[in-house]
Amino acid sequence: MQSQQPVEMILLRQAASYLTMPIWMMDEGGNLIFYNGPAEKLLGVRFDDAGPLHADQLAAMFKATNLDGEPIEDTAFPVVSALVDRKPSHREIRFCGLDGVWRDVHISAMPVEGQAGRFLGVFATFWESAG
């Protein structure tokens, strides 16, 4: 068979494309497969320009620290935590988009489980901190 995303992820992407909060989606291998228009503002690049990104590219492209500006481990990044532990994860971090702008954002990430118990990836929302 030819490769195709699971229908659960297709429907999540379609829903994300209509929502106005930033949403980020990764597949079960940790590859970034989609983020929506509002997320493009936070990440500093259009998805059509960035395209799907392999897991090993992500850490190099996006820098993150805690709110004191100290480096954090990859596993402290909620999307990574949700991917590895397969549990919901939330944290406020300082994040640098590809436009070079640092922003404080809340990130809530949850593992996506499809029919028949299939682990399909991670679905995350980004909320820019007030002030």
């Binding site: 068979m1 030819q2 195709q4 229908v7 297709i10 429907l11 379609q14 499809g114 028949a116 299939r118």
Partner: protein, 279 residues
């Protein structure tokens, strides 16, 4: 393998003078393997007449795409289901909450129906997850497709021939640029390069505008989908109960005029087709 359409209508059986040629019975398709085994796709009202025509089969497999009424309402009227000499295997989409048997029991029990599932003499239930399995000589791939509730599309391969079956499907849901990118299109892997695709063709564009999310496809969307998936022959299916024979004739003329690289075949009751083995 070869197949025959016994029920082509969607939503509700709609017998009458306006639906004679395309058929008024709901979804049911007879699929025969090269060795003669019977696999039935869906158990709409068309399965009743199919059951009357079957011979002395000792095993019959029924693959349900989903459990909406128009796909299961014929089940208790399928004669072999009540024959203890016939082993009937019922396959349907897996659920996170209830087994296939439990879900079908909601229909096959009073007050909706007088016969209970436990009274059926020789039935084996199979909860089907997305993935691959086989029946006789058929290599079968099942995958979830866009339709309300857990719904499977199927891809059948035998001797190099491929039949894809997606009777209820809304691949354009939420996709204003449909068909868009193939790997983000529901059912693409199932239909890709199929010799025959039997597919939902329920709505006109005008009808769809007020029925987005109901789980079905327009003629126009279907044409684009057939082009994207590079199927050879497209058989329309799941006709809207409000669409008369004459209306469907016109819709098919329009669909055929736009066909790009595939043949359109009107899914009329009684249609039979063989998929020849390739060397």
């Amino acid at each position: 393998m070869k197949f025959k359409l016994w029920g082509t209508r969607g939503s509700i059986a709609s017998a009458g003078p306006d639906t004679v040629r395309y058929g008024g019975n709901t979804a049911s398709v007879e699929l025969r393997t090269s060795t003669g085994c019977v696999v039935i796709l869906d158990a709409g009202s068309g399965i009743r007449t199919l059951g009357k025509e079957l011979g002395s089969e000792q095993r019959i497999d029924i693959l349900l795409s989903h459990l909406h009424m128009d796909h299961v309402q014929g089940l208790p009227f399928f004669g072999p289901l009540l024959d203890p000499e016939v082993e009937v295997h019922l396959w349907g989409p897996i659920s996170t909450t209830h087994t296939l048997r439990e879900r079908l029991s909601r229909y096959l029990s009073p007050p909706l129906f007088p016969i209970r599932v436990r009274e059926l003499p020789n039935v084996v239930f199979h909860d089907v997850p997305p993935g691959e399995f086989s029946i006789d000589t058929l290599a079968i791939t099942a995958d979830l497709i866009t339709h309300p509730g857990s719904t499977l599309g199927y891809r059948f391969a035998e001797d190099g021939s491929v039949l894809a079956y997606m009777p209820d499907h809304e691949p354009a849901l939420g996709n204003p640029r449909f068909p868009g990118v193939s790997d983000w299109t529901s059912g693409y892997s199932l239909a890709k390069g199929a010799d025959v695709l039997i597919h939902d063709a329920q709505y006109t564009e005008e009808e769809y505008s007020t029925r987005v999310g109901w789980g079905h496809t327009t003629f126009s969307q279907l044409g684009k989908y057939a082009t994207m998936t590079e199927v050879s022959r497209l058989v329309t299916f799941h006709h809207d109960p409000a669409h008369s024979d004459d209306f469907l004739d016109e819709a098919h003329v329009a669909l055929m005029s736009r066909a790009d690289g595939y043949e359109v075949i009107a899914g009329k009751v009684g249609l039979e087709m063989s998929l020849l083995a390739t060397d």
